[in-house]
Subunit: 62 residues, 6 copies
Amino acid sequence: MPTFRVELFEGRTVEQKRQFVEAITKATCESLKVEPGSVDIILVDVKKEDWATGGRLWSDAG
Amino acid sequence: MPTFRVELFEGRTVEQKRQFVEAITKATCESLKVEPGSVDIILVDVKKEDWATGGRLWSDAG
Amino acid sequence: MPTFRVELFEGRTVEQKRQFVEAITKATCESLKVEPGSVDIILVDVKKEDWATGGRLWSDAG
Amino acid sequence: MPTFRVELFEGRTVEQKRQFVEAITKATCESLKVEPGSVDIILVDVKKEDWATGGRLWSDAG
Amino acid sequence: MPTFRVELFEGRTVEQKRQFVEAITKATCESLKVEPGSVDIILVDVKKEDWATGGRLWSDAG
Amino acid sequence: MPTFRVELFEGRTVEQKRQFVEAITKATCESLKVEPGSVDIILVDVKKEDWATGGRLWSDAG
């Protein structure tokens, strides 16, 4: 029952998300020996103004 | 201090959310013997294109 | 597909958890009109030394 | 590698977020003795209709 | 900067986790066109008594 | 009502956690103009074998 929550910068197309969840699910099934139907993935689009590394918002990165 | 984070498909009305948090809080207080004021619930609306099961986005489910 | 993550202080028995997830699932199905099988709940036991309110660890609350 | 996820009511300006992540990162580095570059912070804006305390949505608080 | 949090039933060996994070990171880099160093994965082991589907704890599943 | 979830490597003492939550709460109150009592912080200790960057578990980092 692996359940993924993935935070990533916003801006991916639906086609990119489609390929991503297919690839992640396949990789999970192969490495953990689980069935595809048991894999849930939730994508969380994050704005660059809502993510900071080293104390600086990514929207401020030059 | 139970704190809930609930991910659900977007599209609920405020009235549905209102009834949902009332029902969840009541069920929590009765089963865990806590005070209502100690129950926090955060709802997270998820688009169907951001949730996949079995490697397929729910927006692609026919 | 509501998916719950619930953080609560450690110390509940399995029987309390059993009653809690039954009550939450029932309340969810009634208020959101979903099927029980679509409700997932993950419980996260938190130590009092790992939860702070107002800048004070709950393990320090007199 | 402390990674923060902070849920807060929506409505902060980018300048407020900027000051907030700077302050949190500084406080983290001083108290945990880590390097700024190892601190990640993700902010999650929550609508008042998506947060309930005591069974009542904050959008209903008078 | 994709950041994963993956909840899965406890009981995997370190070798299984090692293969899993390698596979997930590779799949992420190929499908999202990001660098490996930007991929963080946090694994969360969940006991069967802490996960319920359909109102029943997995530790109770016969 | 800022609510923090902070994932960090296990191994901090209670005294370090105490200083950390004090510092984070103070920084939050000053930068966001909120009351201390509205700040909740949950710490999540993560084992090095449960955190990967760049496809490698931190427990494998030489």
